[in-house]
Symmetry: D2
Subunit: 354 residues, 4 copies
């Protein structure tokens, strides 16, 4: 077989706007679907179900074959119901936050069906990536699934989600900066091979937003940019065939916090703080990252949460053991030392951590 | 067949840096190639041939099966020599500006072989797109080929290319702004269907650079950003399956100028001026575009070229007939009127056109 | 996106021969794998494990990262252990009969890893198809997975498997005849759209073998032909995107028997008898099918099993309810009547059923 | 990127039957096409044009944007007209024998458009393969293009084509036998790597037909089998990424005859005789091949043509130089000797060559 350019799966359908809910049926119809199963995440129905169902059935005359709640994100529970889809189901539409979308995405994956992702908040890149975070035998586990066939984002829904979700989204976007730096570092050690195209995509996803002018993080164009950035982040991972371009030492710290802390904060909030810390450790783009987190109000928001420096210290120490096969900055003892030192000395970290 | 996410061809290899020429052999070797045909564009050998050949044969012990000049970009000439490649050729490497790369890319396409694109200047997105511009029966014609397997950009080479090439590259990047606006406009008329993902990619390609801080357009990071932007532009077209996300009315003006003017300017120079004009017509992002073209020195550079307002007026009138099946802004008589009026009234255009 | 020819996944590696076990390491090495997880089905280790491990580690110096037994084919059990693979696993190799292969195939699917299928018997097309038969909440369920990356068949192993497995394989191959007829029938009713290429492949898979001269069904070339036929059957389903080209009313009868009978026979044995019955019902290629089942000894083998006509009668009645959305011959009451009548009147069926 | 099963392009549409011409519009309509360009080969219009156009425009209301003759198979001529297609052309339909189809296929390839292949005779596997045979600078040259999107074969048309075309098709099918043997031989010398799946497909394509019962080579099912076999042969080459599974030393002899003889016979006629010769040389499946060529009347047909033994002798000597990089049986001097000896001693060859 002759080698040709690399083939990458991208969403065939991407719609981000103010009228997505009201045009829902028309959008699915244009994409060629007619028999649909809806999966709503916890607490989502009241926000948008009537509008979606009306648009599907009245506006576009599509068949909703099933309309189910997806609440339990254990693989056991998902597997138990995934194979009871109505015959002739053509597409799974998931509407929800991270958890609901992950369940619906996995149901689609297990059935080999296309998945339409309808995020009600944009707290991380899960709505646009091929992976899922599920519970397997009681442990939170990242499992591969497949890139969504479509991503439909109603900005009205997302803008009305609690502000911590937006800050979480920003934190997850920023993590590309230390993550790519870690990945290149691992390559320099001969531990992996970086995919340059994935790096470029990951960088574009963050550079485009950190350089964007805005007055309010809830304004239309800024939220649209967040959605685009997180989507590009998902594509970057798809190109790489791994999470490496979007997840480095800063994600390990967040995973460690999830294990250490009784009530962890939102993924992207933890990741955002850890990204700032790792930029300090890597001595890489610190000014840019600090300025952005400062001006968007991220640091002020975090300062009010009462996250503890102690927890971060333990997380830094635990981080390398989360993925022992990687070789990020935090896998070097001297870099962990540096991180611990910075946790106690950096002014911003002093201010935002208790 | 169940529908899955859209598969898109992207370059498997992307390297942009200061050491590309000296690591040339190693980069091809890592990509798994061992029997190579080199194609040099006009005037390119003195710039880099010894370094490339040495790196391939001494550093990496690869076989250079053939080392040819590619000068004539008529399809007849290309076809005449394309099928005389040595047996067992694995990859075609093209080194040159737009013309040389197009010829080499087409030789690879006709043989079903992977193509490595090594631009010596970045005057437009041809080094990263699947299309070629060739002469067919004496007429310049855009023909489809295939996305490069790899893109290797030595920033030393590119930085030393004449400054007009960089300005041309900037002009070509900016064209995404009116082009996407035209495309959406055509969709609103029911004349086409926009691919939202291609739009997003095209927008990222331009937003990332227009918001980038820099002090000199020849600095490393700025040139790298130009390369990235033009690469994303090529991908956007690949996703769309057409040139629409990267080429609207502003490109039609440039194509018209090519027909009208005895000695046309570089493609991206013409496109840059036309992009500014079309943003005025579309009343879309005018400030941003003007600021960028002003601060980068593009307008000053253009002002010294002596391009004529008369030619632009004729080009605006001719533009819609270049692609009669499209429905851009310029396909409406009132918008052509508006453009003609702006050519005579806008202060910046007054300044830069003779 | 312009439409191009349909892309279909086929095994990249296919080796059928006498020396497969002894060349095992070399075969995986050539395919580019170096870190392997082995999964052995029940009772399989004694047959071939030492040879495989020695070939992998001594001959080819590959790393066997894990060497596990796969015994429980409930989805719950598989999911519980699937995500504990060693980091950097590159490929899952499954060695076993239908059940062991299905488990290993699903572990690979859940992890997004390539799967190498090493059947120790060829009782049905599972070793070469993208689907799996697993227990989900206590019910046997057909679930989609992915086409094996490679299929390695050691004819020594397969030839020494009990003869009922070979007869089962033959029965499964023959089922393409009534299955394709059912599929075309459903299309004539407007109930589905047949994929002509899948039909062609399914037909070739069966025609090639029913027309083959042989003296003993255990001879090298005949078994090789069985393997090829079952592989083509897997590809036919992949092309179709469903099991339709390989599974029609005759498979429904077998599924019904599985529910009705305390100790069902091997899948392909049941399917073989049901295929003969359905050819009678469809009045399609009866002579060819009868001659083949007669001359290979299939009918004699079945006659000794004591399968009951009563069970088949109940199965015919139950069959359409197994897949209520299909429209096979057995979904018509008059055809079920005809089948019941034939069960009591056809001489061959009289002879082989008790 | 994780490795998955190999992706192969196959025709999305395959229809072989008695009603293809009368259902032509409906078949293209179902496939989703609405704007079509027709290309008729030399002498083909009178056979079927009115029926095709009527079916397209009246039955299915499709738009025939252009209806052209394709007569000149020089690359220069094709390139000169290929880019003058009407805007918005969706698909190229080629109707003709080998030459007309090759031209139409190449027009589609140069434009990146899907191609529908409508053979009026089945003299070789060109209607179902990705390659084309064109004249480049006056020399017949095999060039790569792309697998047809669809293959539509009206058996009425094909059955009424002169009988030499059917015999040519049979000869081309039989060539898989020595070709695969040559390919495996080259692998045993370390000169190449065989793709086992392509081998299997190539073998099925020939075994299925040589074992088929028939009474007349013009009967419906036999011609259908020829079409299927040649289609599988095209797929086998696609899987292999080269012509090796379908073209070995026997094809080299035929290519050599094309150079040596003033008026060469049909490709498949020459290939059929050469295949028999090479089976003798390889001492491989001689009985089967002889029996088939005898019973179908191929040998009798050839005997009447007056092909000369002298020409074959020269062709055997010239053959290896046609593809010097290959290592077929004929690349060994002792095998060429053996072939020359057999040309003078084998009874059948004595009878059919003058």
């Amino acid at each position: 077989m002759k080698r040709q350019a690399h083939e990458v799966a991208i969403p065939a359908l991407l719609e981000v706007g103010d009228q997505v809910l009201s045009n829902f049926g028309m959008l699915l119809c244009k994409a060629g679907f007619s028999r649909i199963v809806l999966c709503f995440g916890e607490g989502i129905r009241p926000l948008c179900e009537p509008q979606i169902v009306q648009s599907l059935t009245e506006q576009a005359q599509l068949e909703v074959l099933d309309n189910r709640d997806v609440l339990d994100n254990s693989l056991e529970a998902i597997a138990g119901t995934a194979f009871s889809l109505p015959a002739r189901t053509e597409v799974i539409v998931g509407i929800g936050g991270g958890k609901g979308l992950d369940i619906a995405k996995y149901i689609a994956f297990l059935n080999g069906l296309p998945f339409i992702s309808v995020p009600t908040s944009v707290a991380h890149d899960g709505f646009a990536s091929s992976g899922c975070s599920l519970y397997v035998q009681g442990r939170r586990t990242s499992v591969p699934a497949r890139m969504p066939y479509g991503i439909l984002v109603d900005l009205g829904l997302v803008r009305n989600s609690p502000v911590q979700f937006l800050y979480s989204g920003l934190g997850d976007i920023l993590s590309k900066i230390p993550a790519v730096f870690d990945w290149r570092f691992e390559e320099s050690l001969g531990a992996t091979r970086v995919n340059d195209f994935a790096v470029m995509m990951a960088k574009k996803s963050v550079n485009s937003i950190v350089r964007m002018p805005y007055t309010d993080i809830r304004e239309f164009f800024f939220i649209k940019e967040i959605v685009d950035s997180l989507t590009l982040s998902g594509i970057a991972m798809e190109i790489a065939g791994s999470s490496a371009p979007a997840s480095g030492s800063e994600h390990l710290i967040s995973h460690a916090l999830d294990q250490l802390v009784e009530r962890p904060q939102l993924h992207g909030i933890q990741v955002g703080v850890a990204s700032y810390l790792m930029c300090l450790v890597q001595e890489h783009r610190v000014e840019r990252v600090r300025k952005f987190l400062d001006e968007t109000g991220f640091f002020d928001f975090v300062a009010a949460l009462g996250m503890k420096r102690d927890d971060f210290e333990q997380a830094v120490t635990l981080a390398p053991s989360i993925k022992p096969s990687r070789r990020t900055y935090l896998h070097l003892p001297e870099m962990r030392e540096k991180a611990l030192h910075l946790l106690r000395s950096d002014e911003t970290l002093q201010r935002i951590l208790a």
